[in-house]
């Protein structure tokens, strides 16, 4: 899970719940979770070696996602506000995520359409 959590959220809770108001996440099958979503709007798998880029506009309340520079999922289009931090939630032992420089990102399109894949 990649996304944002509220500053002060619990470090040992699962925030990827529809009724959680503490996080805005995208899972590696690219479902959106938290703040009214539960693995919704799946956009296709994220594979090892791929780079997930995120852009939060805390004035507009949006959170957008790209994978390897290409737009991925519709993102969260409102309500992303408050004091927040970038965050990950990892499931299996050995899972690893490295913060890297942001690559060039495809311009955001409000008319993004899922490329296909699971679900």
């Amino acid at each position: 899970m990649f996304g944002l959590v509220r500053d002060g959220a619990a470090w040992d809770n699962d925030h990827a719940e529809r009724d959680s108001t503490d996080a805005w996440y995208m899972g590696d099958s690219s479902g959106l979770s938290g703040n009214g979503k539960s693995f919704d709007d799946r956009a296709g798998d994220i594979d090892e070696g791929q780079i997930v880029s995120m852009e939060a506009d805390l004035d507009k309340g949006t959170l957008r996602f790209w994978v390897d520079g290409k737009q991925h999922s519709p993102g969260f289009m409102s309500g992303v506000t408050g004091r927040v931090r970038w965050a990950v939630c990892l499931y299996y032992k050995g899972a690893a995520v490295e913060i890297v420089p942001t690559p060039e990102l495809q311009p955001w399109s409000a008319s993004w359409v899922r490329r296909g894949g699971d679900e």
Binding site: F2, D12, S53, L58, V84, V88, L90, Y91, K93, E98
Partner: protein, 161 residues
């Protein structure tokens, strides 16, 4: 050993002369040299070409004119002898480090590695409550536009949902 010299100008007006081996004349080596001499993480460095040695068409800025180019130099770009580059430090990048004070670290659920604690690794075997973890970055954001990127190095001993 053949060396080339590059002048690095900081935004504060100071200058640093960096010597590079001619066989290691890519921007990534220049950044490492700056890191060694100034302690500025390569991750936060943005280098802009101010001027280059005339007649060097293979080096950075071959198509540039007077003044610094607008885009930061990419790591694989070549720099030439007597080039001048401007150094900007991206402090927002410095804030994007995993929080080493997280209880996930002290409880040995995660470990951090790499330059600037930028790699977070889950090190404990999981069970069905395995989503109960949240590793966050140092920087707290409250307004404005922010970006962060991370690479999925490994999914671990299974596949994620």
């Amino acid at each position: 050993m053949d060396l080339l010299s590059v002048t690095v100008q900081s935004m504060g007006g100071t200058e640093l002369e960096v010597k590079l081996e001619k066989s290691k004349n890519e921007v990534k080596w220049l950044k490492l040299a700056i890191q060694d001499e100034q302690g500025i993480s390569t991750f936060t460095q943005q280098l802009f070409l101010v001027s280059k040695k005339s007649g060097d068409k293979n080096a950075a800025g071959a198509s540039g004119g007077a003044g610094a180019k607008q885009e930061p130099l990419k790591d694989d770009v070549l720099v030439s002898d007597s080039s001048i580059v401007a150094l900007c430090v991206d402090f927002s990048a410095a804030l994007n480090e995993w929080d080493s004070s997280s209880p996930l670290i002290s409880n040995k659920i995660f470990m951090l590695s790499g330059e600037g604690n930028r790699t977070g690794i889950k090190i404990i075997e999981g069970d069905d409550e395995d989503w109960n973890n949240c590793l966050w970055t140092n920087g707290v954001m409250e307004s404005g536009k922010h970006r962060m990127s991370s690479k999925l190095i490994s999914e671990g001993d299974g596949c994620l949902v």
